[in-house]
Amino acid sequence: MSIPLLETRALSRHYPGGVRALDEVDLRIGKGEFVAIVGRSGSGKSTFLNIVGGLDAPSGGSVSIHGRMLDYSDRRALIAFRRQMVGFVFQQFNLIPSLTASENVEYPLLFNYRPPAERQEKARQLLAMVGLGDRASHYPGQLSGGEQQRVAIARALVADSPLILADEPTGNLDSQTSEGIFSLLQRLNRERQVTLLVVTHERELASYADRTVEMRDGRVVA
């Protein structure tokens, strides 16, 4: 098998008091794959996503992207990793309320030192792609939950990161809207060849993914 986009080896995360949120997780995800991680609440799905995304550090094991091991002790390298390699989609949408949809989408590029004109054009294209071309100047408070999550997906794509991490992206949405979001994610995966790692506790939605990984008690069980 060629070098995977993402590979974790014996990835562990222990918390004081002996809690093992992650327990030696080995996982390989190829470029362009759409992988759903399912499992009950507390199974370690979000912890796994946070560590893979460079937001949290593991207690043991390693994470490699394109065969290069991520150094969690190097803060600069972690920041650069978050800027260029990953895009996040959160359950709570996590848009900045004082920024318009367009400005929220271009927000990550502000930290990538991209010129405003380029950022605005990119945001415009991505909003059109997620079906919100006419909502660019709306503030998050003026958008529905599904629309806010679409804006968040556009934001995750704006830096052309090869890996998109989505943590319960439909956790706050009704079933019809959730279908729409997963359908959008699937389309993006196919059209843009972006690698998707999506955490969900809904198995029906996981069926949109190419592969499903089940976690239980901090371990991959299937």
């Binding site: 946070n50 978050r82 800027r83 709570q92 900045i96 927000y107 502000l110 930290f111 010129p115």
Partner: protein, 406 residues
């Protein structure tokens, strides 16, 4: 300024706009502090300027008298060498040595006599005459100061051209006193100058020396500086050659020293209110960071570095400080304007003629350096106040920050 920083400032303005009421209160705190500082300094500067102007107009500022000085325990006499050195100092227009002595008239009026060369009288003292004119070199003619002239005329009937007998008391080898009389002719009475020369009798230097004055060297050296702006450097030069400069400039130095103290003292109190404004900014920003914990976590998740987060928070502080500083400057100018419009008439009406001069003058003087300093101080203090909240924000754990729900 790079465009990214400019965008941080734009974001800062929008973030502040979200919390209008709290921000307005904070800005008011800073503005009041800056206004108090600008107003205090303006008042101090106004009083200082008035006092200095009064000294300048009422006295002969560019006239300096160099007297024997002391270096350690050694008296530095006004020797011809030092007189020449002082005369050659940069900024000196003219100089003339003087000798001083005390005489009495037959009417028992004590007279301070100053011997000065005839050309020195004109070049250095620039006298204008109420009556008569200056004395001739080598003559026994004398010129009277305004106050002395009036006194001698009123009590002894001395007029221009009338002989005046001066009595000098000396002591013989056995210590017995004896009086020597000299007749001089007053040929001029100077107009009032507002300084010590109003009380003296001026005569030719050689005549004074002939009367026994200046046996141990010159009493002093009169120096005319080229202009008011050169006075202080000339005085410094005089000190440099071991002599002690005296003149109206000392009053200005004293006023400046006193006003420096007053302004510093008042400035400390005004600065305290500015400090309170700074604390308000710190409080506002700490609350803001607390309320926006999740937003800061999101920024970190999408690629903001610790430095970016600090810059964003400090940009908000700078905006607060800038707006507060501008508002404070405006308030300060308003305060000075009101004070200048109402303060003079109020003082004049309450305290009478002594303050009548304030009717058409500026009690408070606002200058651009004061306003600039007020603004810079507000921005600097705001940045300082924002350092801790900014640092705290930059140290947030992104995962916990996003989970915080705030």
């Amino acid at each position: 300024m790079n465009s990214r920083l400019a965008e941080f400032f734009q974001l800062a303005v929008r973030q502040l706009f979200r919390r209008k009421f709290r921000v307005i209160l904070t800005i008011a705190g800073i503005a009041i502090g800056v206004a108090a500082l600008v107003g205090t300094v303006a008042l101090g500067e106004g009083i200082r300027t008035q006092a200095v102007d009064a000294i300048r107009t009422q006295s002969d500022l560019t006239l300096i008298e160099a007297l024997p000085g002391a270096q350690g325990n050694i008296l530095q006499l006004v020797t011809p060498t030092r007189a020449a050195a002082a005369g050659a100092l940069p900024g000196v227009k003219a100089s003339a040595p003087v000798v001083r002595g005390t005489f009495a008239t037959r009417g028992q009026t004590y007279v301070q006599v100053v011997g000065v060369p005839a050309d020195g009288l004109e070049d250095v003292l620039h006298p204008t005459y109420l009556r008569g004119s200056g004395f001739l070199s080598g003559s026994n003619e004398v010129v009277l100061g305004a106050a002395l002239g009036e006194k001698l005329q009123r009590y002894e009937g001395v007029r221009i051209g009338d002989p005046l007998i001066l009595i000098r008391r000396s002591y013989d080898a056995q210590g017995r006193p004896f009086d020597e009389e000299t007749t001089v002719i007053p040929v001029g009475v100077m107009e009032e100058r507002g300084d010590a020369f109003d009380q003296v009798l001026l005569m030719d230097l050689d005549l004074a020396i002939g009367l026994g004055e200046g046996e141990s060297g010159y009493s002093g050296l009169l120096i005319r500086a080229e202009g008011p702006d050169r006075v202080f450097s000339v005085a410094e030069g005089v000190r440099g050659i071991g002599l002690s400069p005296r003149g109206s400039f000392e009053q200005i130095e004293a006023v400046n020293r006193m006003m420096d103290m007053v302004v510093i003292f008042l400035g400390i109190f005004a600065g305290l209110s500015l400090l309170v404004g700074g604390l308000m900014i710190a409080s506002t920003m700490i609350t803001s960071v607390y309320e926006r914990t999740r937003e800061i976590g999101i920024a970190m998740a999408v690629g903001a570095s610790e430095g970016d987060v600090m810059e964003m928070i400090l940009a908000e502080c700078a905006v607060l400080g800038f707006i507060g500083g501008m508002a404070g400057d405006l308030l300060g100018v308003l305060f000075a304007t009101v004070l200048n419009a109402l303060g003079g008439p109020f003082l004049a009406s309450r305290f009478g003629d002594a303050f009548a001069g304030l009717l058409d003058t500026e009690i408070a003087l606002v200058t651009w350096p004061q306003l600039t300093a007020g603004l810079l101080l507000a921005v600097g203090l705001s940045l300082l106040a924002g350092l801790y909240p900014a640092w705290k924000a930059s140290r947030l754990n992104p995962v916990e920050a996003i989970r915080s729900g705030r």
